[in-house]
Amino acid sequence: MHAFRVLGAAGIMALGLASGAVADGHGGKVKIGLITTLTGGGAALGVDIRDGFLLGIKQSGNDGIEVVVEDDQRKPDIAVQVADKMIQSEKVDIMTGIVFSNLALAVAPAATAQGKFYISPNAGPAQLAGKGCHENYFNVAWQNDGPHEAAGAHAKKLGFKNAFILAPNYPAGKDALTGFKRTYEGALAGELFTKLGQTDYAAEIAQIRASGADGIFFFLPGGMGISFLKQYAGSGIDLPVVGPAFSFDQTILAAVGDAALGIHNTAQWSPDIDNAANKAFVETFKAEYGRIPSIYASQAFDTANLIVSAAAKADVKDTDAFREALREADFASTRGDFRFGNNQHPIQDFYVREVIKDGDVFTNKIIGIGLEDRQDVYAAECKL
C-alpha cells in the first residue's frame, strides 16, 4: 500500500510538472501585460489607452492573445512592483501601456533586460531613443520631442518672432522646450518652468502680458492645461497660442470649453485623418465606448494591431523572429503610413490641428502638416 501511495504521489507530481510545462509553452499563445494609470490624476489617459488597446485586440479575433491589465497609480514604485509580478508570476511575453515617461523609464529597461518586449503606446523619453535604445524596446507613439518640434515649425510658419514658452519643470517638460526651440529658431520673450501639477497660472499670465511677446507656446498636459487655458481665456490677453496636442485632446476638451476654440495644436493623429483604418477605428470606438477616441486611444489601438500583426507571423517565444515581425510594422495604422526608424521609434508626419466645435462636441480637425516624415534626432545615437 505504502509503495502505491508513493507511486501515486510521484504520478501526480509528474502530471503537475507536465501540465506546468504546457502552460509555460503557451503553444503559440501571446500573453500581454498592460500596466497603465487607472486611478488618481492622469487616469483619463490610462483609461483611453486601456480601452483603445483592448478594442484592437478584440477586433483582431485572435483568441491566442491574452491581456492582463493592472493599475500603476502613476507611481514609479508601484509600476515596478506590478511589472515584476507580471514578468515573474504571470509570465507575460510583452509589456505595454505606460502613460508617463518617468514610469516608463523605471519599467521598460527592467522588462527588456529580462528578455521581454516592451512596446510603448505613449511615453517616449529621449533616454530610450538614443544611447539607451534596446532591441526589444519599441515605441509606437513618438519620441517625446516630436510634437513639440512640429509646434516649433508651425510657430515659425505663423510668423512668431518673439515667443513666450512654458512647460512644467520635469524631464518631459524640458524635452518639450528643447524640441520647440530646435525648429522654431526665433527670439524668445520669456521661458518659464512651472511646478509640476501647478493649477494656478495667474503669475505666469501676468508675466506673459508684461513680456511683450507676440505668441505663446505651452506644454501643460492634463489638468494643468485645463487650468492654464481657462485662466488665459479670462485674462484679456489675445495672443496666438500653439502647443502639442496634449492640452487639446479629446479627454480634456470638454472640460476646457470655449477657451480652447480655434487654437492650433500639433499631433501625429487626429480623429479626421482620412484613411479606412482610422475611419473604422473612430466609428467602432464610438460605438463601443460612447465617446470620440483620444490620441492616446489611437496610439494604444495601433500598438495592439502591431502586436497582432507580429503574432500572425512569428511565435513570440522565438524572440528574434518576433522582433523582426514587429520591425516590419505590417499593420494598417490609424495614422496612415507607419514605419520604424533604426531606433524602433516611428518616422511619421505631424499634423497641425485646430480645435473646433462640431455640434455641441469639441474636437480637432487637421488644417495642415507641421513636419513631414520626421525622425527624432536621438536615432543617430542609437547603435541598432
Binding site: 486611478t39 488618481g40 490624476g41 487616469a43 483619463a44 483609461v47 519643470n169 521661458e191 518659464l192 518652468f193 512651472t194 511646478k195 501639477g197 493649477t199 494656478d200 495667474a202 503669475a203 505666469e204 501676468a206 508675466q207 502680458r209 508684461a210 492634463g222 489638468g223 494643468m224 485645463i226 487650468s227 481657462k230 485662466q231 479670462g234 485674462s235 484679456g236 479627454t251 480634456i252 470638454a254 472640460a255 476646457v256 470649453g257 470655449d258 477657451a259
Partner: protein, 305 residues
C-alpha cells in the same frame, strides 16, 4: 520688473492666499476643537467642485452651483463625521491619519464611479468674466478679484462667529478644554458635527470657486491639502487668525517667489540656468518659509502654548 507687474503679482498672491485660507480654516478648526488630523479635507474640496460642476451643468447657474457646493460638502462632511470621524477622536493621531487616508481613496474612487475619469466642465459666469481696470491702469481678472472679496468676507464672518456668538464661545471653550465643556452640559457631539460640517462647507466652497478657473478632476484636492497643512503649521494649529496670516503669507511667498526668483538669478546667471535654478528654488520656498517660522516660533505664528 515694473511696479504695475509687481502689484498685479501681489494681488495674485493675495487671491491664492485667500483660497488657501478657505481650506485651512476648516482644517485648523477641526484640529483645534476636536484634535483630529483630517486628511480627507481635500476630498471635501473635490466634492464641492464636482457638486458645483454638476449643478452648473444642469441649471446653467453658477450661483446655484456655489450654493450646491456648500450644501453637498456640508452634508457629506456631517455624514462622515457621524459614521467614521466620531470614532477617531480618542484615537492616536496615526490611526486618524490612516482612517482619513482611507476616506481619500474611497471618495476618489466613488467620484470616479459617479462622474467618470474625465475632467468636468465648470466655467466662470458671464457676469464675472473678463477683466477690470484697477487704479493705476492694472488689468485684473474680475473673477479673481471676486474670490479675494469672498475670502475676506468669509474670514470676517468666521471672526464674528467665533468671537461674538454662543456657538463661537463653545468652539473656543472646546479648544481650551474638551472634557470640561462636556462636563458643563454642552452637547459636545452636536458641536463636533457642526464644526466638522462648517469646515467641510468651506472646503467645498473653495473647491467650487477654484474649480471654475482650474480643472475639476479626481484627485484635485490632494495638492491643496498639503499646502493647507503648511498654512496651519505656519499660522499655529487651531488658530483662525493664524490660518489667515499663514495663508496670505504662503500665497504671497509662492507667487512672488515664482516670478521674482528667476529674475533675481537672471542678474548674475545665464537666462536658461536662471530659469531652472529659480523655478527649482521657488517650488521649495514655502517649505523654507515653514522651516524658518518653526525655528523661531515652534508653535507657529499664532499658536498657543
Amino acid at each position: 520688473m515694473t511696479t504695475l507687474l509687481l502689484i498685479e503679482q501681489v494681488l495674485n498672491g493675495l487671491q491664492f492666499g485667500v483660497m488657501l485660507f478657505l481650506m485651512a480654516a476648516g482644517l485648523t478648526l477641526i484640529f483645534g476643537v476636536m484634535g483630529l488630523i483630517n486628511l480627507a479635507h481635500g476630498s471635501l474640496y473635490m466634492i464641492g467642485a464636482f457638486a458645483a460642476a454638476a449643478v452648473a451643468g444642469w441649471t446653467g447657474n453658477f450661483f446655484l452651483a456655489l450654493v450646491a457646493s456648500l450644501i453637498a460638502a456640508a452634508i457629506i462632511g456631517a455624514l462622515i463625521e457621524l459614521t467614521v470621524i466620531r470614532r477617531l477622536y480618542d484615537r492616536d493621531h496615526l490611526e486618524q491619519v490612516l482612517a482619513t487616508f482611507a476616506l481619500i481613496l474611497i471618495f476618489s474612487e466613488a467620484t470616479r464611479w459617479v462622474f467618470g475619469s474625465f475632467p468636468l466642465f465648470l466655467n466662470i459666469p458671464d457676469v464675472l468674466n473678463g477683466t477690470v481696470t484697477l487704479p493705476g491702469g492694472i488689468q485684473y481678472s474680475l473673477y479673481r478679484l471676486t474670490i479675494i472679496l469672498i475670502g475676506l468676507a468669509v474670514a470676517a464672518g468666521l471672526f464674528l462667529l467665533i468671537s461674538k456668538t454662543r456657538v463661537g464661545m463653545r468652539i473656543r471653550a472646546g479648544e481650551n478644554d474638551r472634557e470640561m465643556i462636556a462636563a458643563l452640559g454642552v452637547d459636545i457631539s452636536v458641536l463636533y458635527t457642526m464644526v466638522f460640517a462648517l469646515g467641510a462647507a468651506l472646503a467645498g466652497l473653495s473647491g467650487a470657486l477654484v474649480g471654475a478657473i482650474q480643472s475639476v478632476e479626481v484627485g484635485m484636492g490632494e495638492p491643496v491639502l498639503i499646502l493647507a497643512f503648511v498654512v496651519i503649521v505656519i499660522g499655529g494649529i487651531g488658530s483662525i487668525k493664524g490660518a489667515l496670516a499663514g495663508a496670505i503669507l504662503v500665497g504671497l511667498t509662492d507667487t512672488l517667489g515664482r516670478t521674482m526668483l528667476p529674475v533675481i538669478f537672471g542678474t548674475f546667471m545665464e537666462p536658461s540656468a536662471a530659469t531652472t535654478v529659480g523655478s527649482a528654488l521657488a517650488s521649495m520656498l514655502i517649505y523654507i518659509l515653514m522651516a524658518g517660522v518653526l525655528l523661531y516660533k515652534p508653535t507657529g505664528l499664532f499658536g498657543s502654548t
